[in-house]
């Protein structure tokens, strides 16, 4: 079944949930150890919307969550729901606590030095800070 979750990495996003096997195919609502695309989350409110979407899919209590962007060979644990949420919280907090895109980028990398694709983080930082 399709689960409409509204704004996440972009507008009008959807997850696919298969109740009989507890499988959530999350699209880009959840990420698995890859820097998240926050370019279209320029406001605090839009970032809260993404977090609310993660709350919604977590309530389904899936046993596996497939992220649209995942590190090759990672497992598909539901823990990525919280990891995705925490990344947004950290980004949101650092948006307020930094002055430049470079500073935001560097502070996020301090927290997430090993996530895949720093370019996605750079793009997010540039979208917010110019």
């Amino acid at each position: 079944m399709a689960v409409e979750v509204g704004h996440t990495d972009t507008d009008n996003t959807t997850c696919l949930y298969v109740p009989s096997i507890g499988l959530l195919v999350a699209g880009d609502v959840a990420y698995n150890d890859v820097h998240q695309y926050l370019t279209e989350c320029r406001t605090h409110e839009s970032r809260l919307e993404w977090i609310a979407a993660l709350d919604k899919v977590e309530a389904l209590n899936p046993s596996a969550v497939i992220a649209g962007h995942k590190r090759v060979d990672n497992d598909d644990s539901p823990r990525i729901i919280e990891e995705t949420r925490q990344y947004i919280r950290d980004f949101d907090r650092l948006v307020e606590g930094t002055a430049t895109s470079r500073e935001l980028y560097d502070r996020m990398l301090d927290l997430y030095p090993n996530r895949v694709n720093r370019g996605a983080l750079w793009r997010s930082a540039r979208a917010i800070k110019g």
Binding site: D11, N12, G27, A64, I66, R71, D106
Partner: protein
């Protein structure tokens, strides 16, 4: 003959990230990469659903090979393709078309790079699932086909 109560199964194929063109490289990075992309095959005894496709023809062909060689691929089945990637920053989506007909050992793979999308935002995914024609399998052969997606409402 078939056990219709059998649970569905799933497996994931991850297309590795590839280099992209950018005039705004991240500090200290030599290249701008595209993130790795997951495609999920959900399958039962006879039918399968392929969720999400990568972006280039080469990637789609690798995905198609994986589907056909998965070993879990059901016979004379139908493969749908579902995607939530109407977002236009990707601009295009390659619809992988694993296409197997007739002789198992003479597998044919076709790949359609399709659906160049207009720029802008707000497009709704009009048709996420489209059903292939199971009759295309011919005499006792197997057809596995993920049809390209179509969108409407792009602005």
């Amino acid at each position: 003959m078939h056990n219709h109560t059998k649970l569905l199964s799933w497996k994931v194929f991850v297309t590795p990230g590839v280099a992209t063109v950018s005039d705004d490289l991240p500090p200290g990075e030599a290249v701008r990469m595209w993130s790795p992309i997951s495609s999920t095959l959900i399958y039962g005894e006879r039918d399968a659903v392929l969720v999400d496709a990568p972006t280039t023809v080469e990637q789609a062909e690798a995905l198609a090979d994986w589907v056909v060689n998965s070993g879990k691929e059901p016979d004379d089945n139908i493969c749908h393709s579902w995607s939530w990637r109407p977002f236009l920053r990707h601009r295009h989506i390659a619809g992988p078309i694993p296409h197997r007909q007739g002789d198992r050992h003479r597998r044919g793979l076709r790949t359609h790079a399709s659906a160049s999308l207009a720029s802008g935002h707000g497009g709704a995914l009009e048709q996420a699932v489209s059903r292939s024609n199971p009759g295309a399998a011919g005499d006792g052969g197997a057809a596995l086909r993920a049809t390209p997606l179509t969108w409407k409402g792009m602005t």
